[in-house]
Symmetry: C2
Subunit: 301 residues, 2 copies
């Protein structure tokens, strides 16, 4: 699981402060989460391939989370894309993008599917054989969802020592990986469990931005491998956080601690702060494993 | 007159290739012309003040000319703008921007006036005591206008040698600048013409992007001080230029030559070309005074 922070600043973009967007690589998927202005340039800088992005998840319809979407969709067309694109986001997103493309008389020549979200409780919005994606209803000034990406149980792994020691012919490896038993050189049946190792435990990534401190999300994100939680403000602006329905670094850490997540990544910083390390300092007083999100940073888990 | 090229590349943005936007400073105005994605960051890089921009002119509704507008309008709000903003552009621009702001529940707290354009012949769309702005109907795949910015005749300038030689009291300078005659120390009346110099000739800036080769614009832009004319392609792609309703560098130069403009600035280059100097080489074979538009470049006239 690899998370590339394309942008993690709030509100107005600056040359070194990009609005929100992330790329999540999980089980062969390349999911784009949010798409602030300038995201397509950030994707290029990260040397990610446009063609690998097949699903885009938009948390809410504030500009710093989706004003880069129409441009990205247009660039896909200009680059000759043929593969379908799926966009998940609040109701209204289809009308907005459709209007922008229609005005330019430049509809896509690839299939563009909108999945508009309106539910106020968590729901599964994508599922395949490898993982599923659920919404995390957040508490912001407009209708907003976080997204939970959860790997499904992986198949057991071939144990290279065991298959060699037990003299299993290579022709059987494929079946073993699919969970079947095998036969050794003497014709003896060997159980699958003896030839395989436990799979890596399924990983979970919880993305929560933008939101006020909102403990109702805790049961949904419980024991996530990684939680990205917005921390627009430091403790000194806790009242402003409440008023604008954003969180402080300590509140993000409190959510991480109560939900027993593995790692907390902070982001969505207000540009009023000069020293981002202060976010880590404040959050670390509440929750131990804190990482500072920064534009261009890549996290692997 | 100062022209800052914020972006002069066509189609999809790259980190060092910004879509179209320009700042024109003329007689105290700071006009923004077109507003591709990332323009607000380019304005910051140019160290221009957001608050000085009161008029934005959008040529057409292709993304590379207006997908940065909603973000800029939103940033103005976040930065506490109170001054009115006037946006001139094709019909549909009001609906698009209004929808994007409405979806984010973030309408501006400053007056935002849209002036939607539909005329197919040149019309005056802005006028004050110092200058006027006219549309230049262009020939592109969607309804498109260039813009002609024309200074009005300036007042005659005080001649410092003459007022001293003729012993004119300083108290009369203001009236002289306003065109009035004066009286010398001996009570003799001195005509205004003897005390003043001819004003600088009024300047004209013609902005033409995007367009196919379109000689009908020549009478409108005749003798412009500066013409910015798109040159998406080199001569080797003249058929592609015709098909996509863009121009080659030579066609831009031909328009400049037929309209007897002072200087031609090229721009809107397709990103397929590695060496931009080729645009100057081709254009210079037709018209002498050619400048290469480049992101961040400033031209003063």
């Amino acid at each position: 699981m690899k998370i590339t922070i394309l942008g993690c600043f709030s509100a107005t973009p600056h040359s070194n402060k990009n609005p929100t967007a992330q790329l999540l690589e999980m089980r062969g998927h390349h999911f784009l989460i949010d798409c602030g202005e300038g995201t397509q340039v950030q994707i290029r800088k990260a040397k990610a391939k446009f063609s690998e992005i097949k699903h885009i998840f938009i948390s809410h319809l504030h500009g710093d989370h989706f004003f880069g979407l129409a441009g990205l969709i247009s660039s896909f067309r200009l680059l000759g894309r043929e593969a379908p694109l799926h966009v998940y986001g609040p109701k209204g997103i289809k009308e907005a993008i459709t209007l922008l493309l229609k005005l330019g008389n430049s509809w896509t020549n690839y299939p563009l599917h909108f999945h508009e979200l309106t539910a106020t409780s968590s729901e599964v919005i994508f599922e395949d054989e490898k993982l599923w994606v659920k919404t995390i209803p957040l508490n912001h000034r407009v209708y907003t969802n976080g997204f939970l990406f959860v790997e499904k149980e992986k198949p057991r792994k071939l144990n290279p020592q065991a298959v060699e020691a037990l003299e299993i012919d290579k022709s059987q490896y494929h079946n073993i990986k699919e969970g079947k038993d095998a036969t050794n050189a003497s014709g003896e049946r060997i159980s699958n469990k003896r030839l395989t190792l436990d799979p890596d435990p399924p990983k979970k990534y919880a993305y929560c931005s933008d939101t006020a401190y909102h403990p109702s999300i805790i049961p949904i994100i419980e024991r996530a491998t990684v939680l990205y939680h917005e921390s627009t403000f430091l403790d000194s602006h806790i009242e402003l956080a409440a008023k604008t329905k954003h969180s402080t670094a300590k509140q993000a850490a409190s959510i991480a601690q109560q939900a027993h997540v593995g790692t907390l990544i902070l982001g969505h910083y207000s540009s009023r702060y000069k020293n981002l390390e202060d976010f880590v300092t404040e959050a670390s007083s509440v929750f131990k494993n804190v990482q500072l999100g920064e534009d261009g940073k890549v996290f692997s888990f």
